[in-house]
Point group: D3
Chain length 131, copies 6
């Protein structure tokens, strides 16, 4: 019943965010709007992210950049810090991108982003390992 | 008379923006505030950009990202489109970063950025070549 | 002791936000600044909202739009989701306005707004009914 | 060669913006990025705007609201002032929406929007009539 | 025919912006909306600015701060740079406030503000003197 | 091992924020990035704030202004409300600056700032006194 674009978008989204994370993210949105959930899978992940011109890691560092500068998007920043790690960025690189942003958005937005990055790292460290 | 940090910052800034461009950028600011001009060289370029964790091209794609999302920073976007090209990004990659940003800042800011990118490319194409 | 404009503004505000809600909203502000509280009643509600050119429902859908795009105004969004319902908007229309905003402010701000809309609907559903 | 969604999106876009205006808008973007142009037709107009839950006039008043609040989107505001008129909004209603926004984004953004609305009205009045 | 508040607001506005400047500012807005023009005089200048708690110079330095941080409000910044000078701020203090803002809004918004301040100073210097 | 600029910056920062507060603020950032922490001390406090052109109280009222207008910087607003009090601003003046900002950033951002100011005052009042 879902479109080809949705199917490909969900695959891409899972590759970036992780499998349970992508599905949980969309499920939460789907509870209030099936349309919004569909668009969230199909448009950024089914269209924008699937083009080969930029590699996944660069895309996710740009996502971290954007979410830092916006200032009001800390829940999404949490998601994309994990996605950046999934796509091969190091913790040091993520922190460096946020630090560079001081020059573009000032200390308040960059500081809130940095502390959100820190919390996300701590949550990851607290997760039970698979072994 | 200038600090070591200023000297290193100016070298870095010229490497990103180009030699006459960096100097002209700072000269214009210096006309109204020597302090602001000094900080602009010393802080982003003498400190942030000189760290090795991210390569120049990634830093400039992040700068293009930030200036797209801010929405009100088109003059600076022009400068960093050129800087991104100087640091090895292709035109296609710059356009792709701006296109990805539709998902983060919406069409209006992304469209204004895209048209500024286009103008910058056209200005570059209209420049006399060295041969 | 209060001005005619205050009296009319409070009537308008109660019609939009609900009677205890409007009074509680202003009381909380009044604890720190009587001036700010007075302006909040007199200016948007005593002046802007009382003009007949737009109907109440359209005004509240525009308020939901603005608070979605701002990104940092989720507490006020909660208030105006209720106000939009009070003024005749359906839940579906409120969700649709937020969804349209994806194109204007991107997914992060629109997603945070959508989840705030969802929470507000859930709070309303959890309220004891009058019967 | 274009998708069904593109075709429907372009029809919708022309209905909102006017026929030469929609095509010219997309052509300008297409010069620098065929992908961005395609997304601009397919996503907001082929998906978001085609849903029946809100009527065209309400959608365009919400677009005027969003572009006022953003502050940095005056070129897009010009386009949507015309679109709002095309979709049945009166000049008075457009001005009223911008005026309401004073309460949400303050005077500077609302004033810049109002003066852009004024310029757009003047451009329309200066256009040759068909008779 | 105008209210007491309008009359007092206009006096205050002229004291800040200068006499022909205040009247011209309002006249331009009045051409498209008498309501917006009235609110612009009555609300910020008839209410907010007339309270004694802050002196005029501090208020205008705060206005310069706000318009710098907003990023998209350069026309209003021009007006308030003049107003700050009218209210006793020195050019050096205005430049210093904009420079401090680098830390709060980053270089792009602060740079655009600084260059607008520079242009405003140059326009003032080019004005014919009264002698 | 720390630079002269860091040492002077920390002294300045403690004078504005209070001694344990400044150290705690930086320690929290230092846990995730020593570089960011160093820049936060050296740049705003070691450079910007140490210049004599503006007095400390004016600088802090401008900081409160900026953090109000940004909208997404309430944690930093809390810090600078305390700093403004430390530098000689009265509670009434802080509230007045936030109230003036209604005209520049609208009610939602100003209201969130006002309620954050209120919370900060309440936290201060709840602190044990030294006697």
């Amino acid at each position: 019943m879902v479109s080809e674009r949705y199917r490909k978008g969900l695959t891409e989204m899972r590759r970036h965010l992780g499998t349970p994370e992508a599905d949980e993210y969309i499920a939460k949105i789907n509870e209030v709007s099936a349309e919004f959930a569909k668009l969230n899978v199909e448009f950024p992940f089914g269209e924008l992210y699937r083009r080969d011109i930029l590699d996944d890691k660069t895309r996710e560092l740009c996502a971290v950049t954007a979410l830092t500068v916006l200032g009001h998007a800390l829940p999404e920043l949490r998601v994309h810090v994990k996605a950046a790690l999934n796509c091969g960025a190091s913790r040091e690189e993520i922190v460096e991108v946020v630090t560079q942003m001081i020059a573009y958005c000032g200390f308040p937005a960059a500081t809130n982003a940095l502390l959100t990055v820190k919390e996300t790292f701590e949550l990851i460290d607290a997760e039970p390992t698979d072994d």
